[in-house]
Subunit: 151 residues, 4 copies
């Protein structure tokens, strides 16, 4: 049901001195955190201002990660903002997958794939995707390999 024309959300991250290592580029260990922040911001933008925090505390469910995979293709530096394009690529019975592509100045720096499962808050017991999520996410699914900036 993936729709290559579904809109893509962008989250902007300010990369600073403190993100960089002695090679003068963002430390690899921080990059997964950038991508996760972009997914958290995706939820916030699509779920009425609620990110993971409100999801767990107010809505009663969580989305812990079971997988992440990232390819790094260009260094990230403080010279440009990091623009993270985020989109859901699959919604299973109890899981959801996201793609996050990070770009600086138009150059792809990393491409990441992330899989979470739905759980009941306060436990780590798996549960089906909440129906409010199913309704929200289904129209936004795009293929994992669709370039959101392709003409």
């Amino acid at each position: 049901m993936a729709d290559a024309d579904a809109p893509v959300f962008e989250h902007v991250i300010r990369v600073g001195w403190g993100d960089c290592d002695p090679a003068q580029i963002a430390y690899t260990g921080h990059i997964p955190g950038f991508a996760l922040e972009a997914i958290d911001a995706w939820w916030e933008a699509h779920l009425g201002g609620d990110g993971w925090f409100q999801m767990e505390l107010d809505r009663g469910y969580g989305t812990p990660f079971v997988h992440m995979s990232l390819d790094f293709s260009a260094p990230i530096t403080p010279r440009h903002r990091l623009i993270c394009a985020v989109w859901p690529t699959r919604l299973g019975e109890t899981s959801i997958a996201f793609r996050v592509d990070g770009r600086q100045d138009g150059v792809l720096c990393f491409a990441g794939a992330f899989v979470s499962v739905f759980t009941t808050a306060g436990s780590l017991a798996k549960r089906p995707a909440p129906s409010e999520i199913r309704q929200l996410v289904e129209p936004l699914i795009r293929p994992a390999d669709s370039n959101p900036y392709a003409e």
Copy 2:
């Protein structure tokens, strides 16, 4: 020469799930990093887009910290953006002091005082404040204890 009417810079930080600890508030260990990011953003906003990264790599000087002090008065959570007010409070021969106050929803969460020294890039040798910095900073100095939101 502090001027209580000098403008105050604000830097906005998105606090997320990943910043919080099991007490459901931002972990104390992350808060100094928020304040430092706000100072880095202050430089970026006032130095033609150059933060600490460009200062060290392009301009040839750095500003390592010799002191920080923070008082925490209210918890920080993802429910609001963290608005950091930043202003220089003193410019010495070889040092500069900043105040950073972090607020959420109008409530003061922390007040911090920070002192850096000027160094030559690539070394940690102290040097006088660069004249371009002196010109920039002097008109912006406010008293440390001036509330930027006071009427």
Copy 3:
């Protein structure tokens, strides 16, 4: 009641590449986290293996910070382990203060003062220091300015 001969606890931190910034030293924003980790390890060593996590979840109280102050006197690098000396300096009715001194290769890198209050877990309501804590801490209090390595 501070006793300058009370023993001092040491916590060892491995400083790595990922802790360092483009100036090739540990990023200032990470140093408060080093000191807090050392205090957490102090509790773990003195409270039967329980750090802040077990204190909050199992013992029903927390110790959120209300103040921290650090002076930085030498850069921290991966060339040596960071040895953090930790000791309590004061135990009030509802608060506790710690000193943390970080050294590398015998050189003092930072000296920090930290104040926490006791709270009931799951809330941020202040409470008196638990009696198990009072018994534990009182004999370990040393003056804030006592050098643990002085002859």
Copy 4:
């Protein structure tokens, strides 16, 4: 040339309160950093005390990452130390692959695969694996999917 009997290095990480999120488990965004720290410690243990920092600054080469992939199978908490088993799984002409498996109390928490390329320090230009590295690494290569704790 992988040898399933090659020894496996273990790096121990103290997981603390500050690593955990409101779900009372280590935040996913910190776990790649744990694995990277374990690889950095692997180098340090095998390269005469030199980790990435000394590799870049003293030996003149670096190993930036081009890929990472992690599967998360159990939550990580402060209740046990995190034991990271690290081993090289492949040494190419210009690249090296590592496996990092993190366990707590004997339970596999994550399994990660990491690929770096060799570069000349101070640039990001790819170069062949240094011969000192080739000699060191070749006898230590194990299959990616070999369980180091299997009988």
